[in-house]
């Protein structure tokens, strides 16, 4: 399974929270959900922290002044 994107991980985390908050999950499932939720939380946080910003400059076109 490929690593989910931040967006899909966050969405899954929120779905898990919602399911737990409804309080209908049996205990075994609640524990499994919690473990998965923690995993997703760490993944999201890691993605937020690890990504490095970058500003690139495109070279200005030299031919842009030519009439087309």
């Amino acid at each position: 399974m490929t690593e989910p994107t931040f967006e899909s991980a966050q969405r899954e985390l929120e779905q898990i929270v919602e399911r737990l908050e409804r309080g209908q999950a049996p205990l075994d499932e609640a524990i499994a959900l919690w473990e998965r939720g923690e995993e997703l939380y760490k993944l999201c946080l890691g993605k937020l922290d690890a990504a490095h910003g970058r500003i690139d400059e495109l070279a200005r076109r030299v031919d842009e002044a030519r009439p087309g």
């Binding site: 994107t5 931040f6 967006e7 966050q10 985390l13 929120e14 898990i16 929270v17 399911r19 737990l20 908050e21 309080g23 999950a25 205990l27 609640a30 524990i31 959900l33 919690w34 939720g37 923690e38 939380y41 999201c44 946080l45 937020l48 990504a51 490095h52 910003g53 970058r54 500003i55 690139d56 400059e57 495109l58 200005r60 076109r61 842009e64 002044a65 009439p67 087309g68």
Partner: protein, 399 residues
């Protein structure tokens, strides 16, 4: 083109092209014109055309102090058609227009042929710079035309990506707009990757340059949203952003475009064609990236809710277990109690059947010695009897 056959007689004669008298050569029954005569004929015919106004962009302006004439090419900005224009240098200088390449003008003149070369050109009598009113009228026409094509339709607008992989930023080299966008993006989402294309954003060449830069940005890997930013400026300064070529390029851009051009009150046509319009470069920066702090908050809240949710499940299960335990521990006592109640019930029923209950209702048991007295014959007068009632017994004698 003269025939190789010298046998053909060659004699000059007059002929007419559309009423213009031009000398022609006669080769038998074929009338042939020299190039000079042909050009002169066409030239004279052209000279009969009326004097007209022609609108276009000035390009390739050539002026030299030693030349008698000033030359430039008038270009149709949308179709690219070109027309050579000449004007006597003195007259041109007298207009004090200080024209630059790319400026839009109206030229009043008449067509003429430069006979030596057979080139058509417009001989200018006067030149007027395209005025504000002309610009406004042209803009309004263009706006209506593009709107009719559906270029500004709401259903064309695309949503911006929530997490852009790379953000294309198109700005002028005016530092402010670029700085505002970049600093807002970086402050909100430090992980953002931005690729900046600087270009001319002002002047006659700007529209073309912006279109080219937009194409470059879209060609960059992973760019999935483009911001076009330019600070405020005069109406003329912002004209390139209403140029048809640019407006079409923005509408046709493969990724969503955020337009942040000029101030709130300006509405260049590129704003209408863009997917989202931002009132300022800073607002554009806020639109293209999520707020990392807000995201982290939301994550933390999710995690807290996750823990709460699990704890609640544990508590609920624990509660259920405890209550089961309670019931279990109370079960033996309960069973004894139940048995006791059943016993009491049985005892009650038993008691109801005993003579005691009869005594309680006021009956008496009479004994003579050990025998129960059931008949008066059992006791004679003066005999001793024992009487038992509900609350005790007493002795008596029979009268």
């Amino acid at each position: 083109m003269l025939g190789a056959k010298s046998a053909r007689s060659r004699s000059a004669c007059g002929a007419s092209i559309l009423g213009v008298k031009v000398p022609a050569l006669q080769y038998g029954d074929r009338k042939v014109y020299t190039v000079a005569a042909f050009n002169r004929g066409v030239g004279e015919w052209l000279a009969r055309l009326p004097t007209v106004w022609v609108e276009g962009e000035v390009t390739e302006l050539r002026r030299h102090p030693s030349w008698q004439n000033v030359f430039f090419t008038l270009k149709d900005p949308s179709e690219g058609a070109c027309l050579a224009v000449t004007m006597p240098r003195g007259q041109f200088d007298g207009l004090r227009l200080d024209l630059a390449d790319g400026e839009r003008v109206h030229v009043y003149g008449r067509p003429s042929l430069f006979e030596a070369r057979g080139d058509l050109r417009l001989r200018a009598l006067t030149i007027e710079r395209f005025g504000l009113g002309d610009h406004l009228a042209a803009l309004e026409r263009l706006k209506r035309k593009l709107a009719a094509e559906g270029l500004f339709a709401a259903d064309r607008k695309r949503p911006l990506p929530r997490f852009p992989r790379r953000i294309g930023l198109l700005t002028g080299n005016d530092a402010a707009a670029k700085r505002d966008v970049v600093s807002t993006i970086v402050a909100r989402f430090p992980a953002a990757r931005v690729v900046v294309a600087e270009t001319y954003v002002q002047g006659p060449r700007a529209a073309q340059a912006i279109v080219a830069a937009l194409g470059d940005l879209c060609g960059e890997a992973d760019v999935d949203v483009v911001v076009v930013a330019r600070g405020g400026g005069s109406f003329e300064d912002l004209l390139p952003f209403s140029d048809e070529r640019l407006v079409r390029a923005i509408a046709g851009c493969p990724v969503p475009v955020v337009s942040a051009v000029g101030h709130e009150q300006d509405s260049p046509l590129c704003d209408l064609a863009a997917d989202v319009r931002a009132s300022t470069p800073t607002a554009a920066g806020r639109l293209v990236v999520p707020d990392a702090a807000e995201l982290a908050d939301r994550l933390a809240r999710s995690r807290a809710a996750l823990e709460r949710g699990v704890r609640r499940t544990f508590e609920r299960e624990g509660e259920r277990l405890r209550s089961l335990g309670d019931r279990l521990s109370r079960a033996p006592a309960l069973a004894v109690e139940r048995k006791r109640a059943a016993l009491e019930h049985a005892a009650g029923r038993l008691r109801a059947l005993s003579p005691r209950a009869t005594l309680d209702r006021g009956y008496a048991i009479v004994r003579a010695g050990d025998a129960l007295v059931r008949s008066p014959a059992q006791v004679g007068p003066g005999a001793r009897i024992d009487v038992e009632v509900a609350e005790g017994g007493f002795g008596a004698r029979v009268e």
